[in-house]
Assembly symmetry: C2
Homo-oligomer: 101 residues x 2
C-alpha cells in the first residue's frame, strides 16, 4: 500500500504514518475497525513486539495470529485483571459443570 | 527489596538491574521461575507495557493480573499463532460437543 493516511492500513492510521509496501500490518488491519483494534494491540503488546512476532510466523499463518493478538488485546482492555484468561476460566468451569450432570 | 541481583525479583534479574522498593514487579515475580516467566512477559508484552498495566490496577488485584499476563505470555511463546486463544477455541469446541451428547 502506498500514499498518505487515506489509503493507510488501520495500524498506520493509528500510528499516523505513511503505509508502505513493506508494512507488516497492512493485510491484517485493513478493515473498518482496523485502527480501533490496532490501538488496543499497540497499548497492550506494543507495535514493535507485534511486528517482531508476526515476522517470525509463516506468511500463511499471520492473519490468524493477528486475529488472536487483537482478540487478546481487546479482552485485556475490557478486563485489565484477567484479560482473555477470564474466558478460559469460565469455559473450564462450564466444562466441569456440564460433565458433572 | 534492596541490594543487588542476588536479592532481585525475577523481573529485575532478567532485566539485570537493581531491584528497589519502588519495583512494581517484585511482589509478582519473586519465585523460582520468576525470571523465566518474566522473560516471556517481556518478550510478548514488553516490561514497560506491563508496568503501566499493573500500575492502573488496584493493588489487591495486581497479583492475579500478573498471573494472567504470565499465562498469556507463556502461551504465546508456545503457540505464536494462537497463543492462549487456542485454549479458548478448544474449550468452546469441548462445550459444544458435550452439550450435543
Amino acid at each position: 500500500m502506498t500514499g498518505g493516511s487515506s489509503s493507510s492500513c488501520g495500524a498506520c492510521k493509528f500510528l499516523r504514518r505513511k503505509c508502505t509496501t513493506e508494512c507488516v500490518f497492512t493485510p491484517y488491519f485493513c478493515y473498518s475497525q482496523g485502527a480501533q483494534h490496532f490501538a488496543a494491540v499497540h497499548k497492550v503488546f506494543g507495535a514493535s513486539n507485534v511486528s517482531k512476532l508476526l515476522m517470525k510466523i509463516p506468511m500463511q499463518n499471520r492473519s490468524e495470529a493477528a486475529i488472536s493478538i487483537s482478540y487478546e488485546a481487546l479482552a485485556r482492555m475490557q478486563d485489565p485483571i484477567y484479560g482473555c484468561v477470564a474466558q478460559i476460566l469460565a469455559l473450564q468451569q462450564q466444562v466441569s459443570q456440564i460433565s458433572l450432570r
